[in-house]
Symmetry: C2
Subunit: 205 residues, 2 copies
């Protein structure tokens, strides 16, 4: 491991700073104009870099958006990947409600960028594919958690953990997009509580 006092070569450092500037400019421009209307030229101008330099870092608008998406998705993954080793049904319930709340709350906090992602997922095949990969990663983790509960006698075993995990994620995801679009009048807590009550009631009994 490098010592923190050890300096990066200045060229490498400049390159990292340029990348950061471009990401920040992209974020700002996307929030301002939406995905479709934003051009890579606007972002380059805002970041005050050259075209050649910009294309060293990003293949284009879609690519830059996907790297911004990665940052937000990492925060979501942290929630999906919270330790799940419940000793009781009640403990399982508590962890699941907590996860659902954090997931929806995060969408709430990141609303401006999530609105941009929603548009980009609809319009760009590459971004759409990236979102689907993200979804599969989430569902896989949920399926593991269900399988754990089934193996430990906490959850019913007459349902398929993959299919159930998928349905559970879908309900959460759709609510996430409604929260992002400000389309529904309930609070995040009410949504998380009701979803979790039915879901855990359904598999933990």
């Amino acid at each position: 491991m490098k010592k923190s006092s050890e300096k990066l070569p200045s060229r490498k450092l400049r390159s990292l700073e340029t990348r950061k500037k471009l990401l920040a400019a992209g974020r700002e421009q996307f929030i301002e104009s939406g995905f479709h209307k934003t051009t890579i030229a606007q972002i380059i101008k805002k970041a005050n870099t050259g075209y050649g330099t910009a294309y060293v870092h990003f293949k284009g608008k879609d690519d830059l958006l996907m790297q911004l998406m990665e940052e937000v998705m990492d925060r979501f993954y942290e929630i999906a990947e919270l330790p799940f080793k419940p000793q009781s049904k009640q403990e399982a319930y508590d962890i699941i409600e907590k996860q659902a709340s954090l997931f929806l709350e995060m969408a709430n906090e990141e609303r401006s960028m999530m609105q941009v992602f929603e548009e980009a997922i609809r319009l760009s095949d590459d971004v759409n594919r990236k979102w689907k990969d993200t979804r599969e990663r989430f569902i896989k983790r949920i399926a593991q958690d269900i399988a754990y509960s089934q193996a430990h006698g906490l959850a019913r075993t007459d349902v398929d953990h993959h299919l159930v995990a998928r349905g559970w994620f879908f309900a959460n995801e759709m609510y996430l997009w409604e929260i992002v679009k400000n389309e529904y009048g309930f609070t995040v807590e009410e949504i998380a509580h009701n979803l979790t009550a039915v879901y855990t009631g359904g598999i933990y009994g």
Copy 2:
């Protein structure tokens, strides 16, 4: 009510036939080229009518698509609006599993048109709004069914029927789109069975 032997005026009859021809041509062209690539000119040519005549019936491509959507959605509404007056939890369970199966099976049968709708919902604001209205109509009906079960001592009353109805519809809807896009390896019956098991277990106990 008119007697069936009574004839429509021939001008009116011709107009209805033109409309039907345009809808049939639209259906064919949309399935062939997708929503985005289809032009109203292609549809008019396929229907062998004039521009002026076509615009009497449809404001444009989006409008024609929405009228095709209406036909398919009517089949969906029939499923959503099946009588729901269960006398027991088991009866509730059976009706719900049947509805979920019919809903997903319908998507399966109408796959080609549903693929066109999926694209149009992503790309056209008008079509998107229409789908949202459809969704709300479904959810409202499910919420009524839950309220009925709650009022009759069949379902738990500590959950909000609107919120639960929404989550249940969302899980079904997302599976519907996966079936439409051929993206998931399970059968309609397996999906309907597992979704229903968790949902009814969660609210009927």
